[in-house]
């Protein structure tokens, strides 16, 4: 009698605790315990060739035009950083603005060791920390890999802005909701390119379906050594950089 009872007790205890553990696991992002999600259909990605960028800032202009981003310099969906590494190891970084006077340091500035431009934008992470923290589900990931913000339900708590490691988000001063680059979702769903890719004069910016076998994106990924920003944070960015300098954060 005792044996049966203790067996049943143990059995149900295991069932319950298993159920409890399962419930807790649902709270943990599935990536944390290695669950792979099948990718069929479109899965958008972006490529940036750092070596080609001339820092003309036409992309910043085009983005603000296309997406009604406030003109003030405090709100950007995409921006370009300028890095100057001097021979003493010191690195200076500055964000450029469209219409900046060409501001070359004197050519005889022989302290410059390396200098280049780095375009930045929302990385549309595959494991987005912003989506993880949104309390009301206003920011979400579409089936084709773009992270959008639902401005009708965003409550403006700014948690996503805190959670983004890349500074890609801002609070829109008119709608008081979080806003960020959407890969020009309204354009790409009609088969067009994002505005920044459209106007880039040197083909620094590349956009495409990561699942496509033959596309500028697939060539980019094949022919270059690819980096992403802050890989240690495991956000799995979908903006890939070629020839990214180690000074870039």
């Amino acid at each position: 009698m005792n044996g049966r009872r203790s067996f049943l007790r143990g059995f149900f205890a295991v069932l319950l605790s298993g159920g409890a553990i399962e419930g807790v696991l649902k709270l943990i992002p599935s990536k944390a315990y290695g669950k792979e999600v099948a990718r069929t259909g479109k899965w958008y990605g972006y490529g940036v060739s750092v070596d080609k960028c001339i820092g003309c800032a036409r992309c910043m202009d085009a983005c603000k035009n296309e997406n009604n981003v406030p003109r003030e310099p405090f709100f950007v969906r995409t921006w370009v950083e300028r890095y100057i590494t001097r021979k003493n190891g010191q690195t200076i970084v500055k964000a450029i603005a469209p219409g900046d006077e060409a501001m070359p340091e004197a050519a005889s500035d022989r302290t410059i060791l390396r200098s280049f431009f780095v375009p930045k934008l929302c990385n549309q992470c595959a494991n987005p920390p912003c989506v993880q923290v949104c309390p009301v589900g206003a920011t979400f990931q579409t089936a084709d890999g773009v992270v959008l913000v639902n401005e009708k339900t965003c409550i403006g708590c700014r948690y996503c802005i805190q959670a983004c490691p890349y500074g890609a988000r801002y609070l829109h001063p008119v709608s008081h909701t979080a806003d960020k680059c959407t890969f020009c979702y309204h354009r790409i769903s009609q088969g067009q390119l994002p505005a920044c890719v459209e106007v880039c004069p040197t083909q620094t910016r590349i956009f495409g379906d990561l699942n496509a076998a033959a596309s500028p994106m697939s060539r980019f990924l094949r022919m270059n050594k690819i980096h992403t920003l802050k890989p240690g944070l495991n956000t799995e960015p979908k903006v890939f950089y070629a020839n990214l300098d180690g000074e870039v954060r």
């Binding site: 979400f140 639902n150 309204h186 009609q190 067009q192 004069p201």
Partner: protein, 252 residues
């Protein structure tokens, strides 16, 4: 019900009533009163996607212009600006594409426009054509010499510095200032017209630098150049693995 509640101590019974009432109220509010769109996240997401897709498009895209502006398109197709979208310079043109007579895109003519890409900037990649906007043909509009749709310069540049400004300026303040680029690099004429199709040559051996810097050199140009023993100096490396030829000074 009263009989059942009597089984419990008075405070507990009252709490049970209050809590049940609140739960019932809450359930009623959630399941009956609150409309679906407010509580269904999937519905909210698909609505958001629909709204996002319906946003107005401002840039027409690089394929659209060709339909009406075929001539210009063909001219641009083979020139240095072939990889640019029309809208890179002319701004958003979707409105014009849909209603060509009503709105016209901008035609930028100011001298401040082209330097946004082409002004000299040491952060720009090597070989990108750059000019000093103050010194380069001042006061003349850029388009008076360069057709924007086929912007080859009126004469093929004689100086390498036309495109390699960064290197030229660095060399100009270095010990190699008196060396023409062609002393070390052979640049076929074709390179000046189609830079990526054929690259200038670069020295391949230590002996090349040894022509001026070797101890027993007879080169006149190298009279004041520092001399080293080619057999001993620099072991197995080629010279430019340590010395940057465009700024070869060893001291800071």
């Amino acid at each position: 019900m009263g009989k059942l509640l009597e089984k419990f101590p008075d405070p507990l019974a009252r709490l049970i009533v209050v809590v049940s009432a609140l739960v019932a109220l809450g359930a009623f509010a959630y399941f009956v009163l609150i409309p679906k769109p407010v509580k269904d996240i999937e519905m909210q997401w698909s609505d958001a996607i629909k709204r996002e897709k319906a946003r107005p498009v401002r840039y027409a895209g690089f394929q659209v212009c060709e339909e009406c502006h075929g001539e210009i398109h063909n001219k641009k197709k083979t020139g240095y600006h072939r990889d640019l979208s029309c809208e890179t310079c002319h701004g958003p043109a979707k409105a014009h594409a849909e209603n060509p007579d009503n709105t016209k895109p901008v035609i930028p003519t100011a001298r401040t426009f082209c330097p946004q890409c082409h002004a000299y900037n040491p952060s720009r990649p090597r070989g990108f054509p750059q000019i000093n906007p103050v010194a380069h043909n001042p006061l003349k509009p850029c388009s008076s010499c360069h057709n924007p749709h086929d912007p080859k310069p009126p004469t093929t540049p004689k100086e390498c510095s036309a495109c390699h400004g960064e290197i030229a300026r660095m060399k100009a303040v270095s010990h190699h200032v008196q060396l023409e680029c062609t002393v070390c690099h052979e640049a076929p004429q074709q390179h000046k017209v189609s830079p990526r199709s054929v690259k200038p040559s670069k020295p391949q051996t230590r002996e090349f630098c040894g022509k001026c810097h070797g101890k027993d050199t007879k080169e006149k140009l190298a009279a004041n150049a520092p001399k080293i023993d080619m057999a001993e100096h620099g072991e197995k490396y080629v010279c430019w693995q340590c010395h940057y030829p465009h700024s070869p000074e060893v001291e800071q």
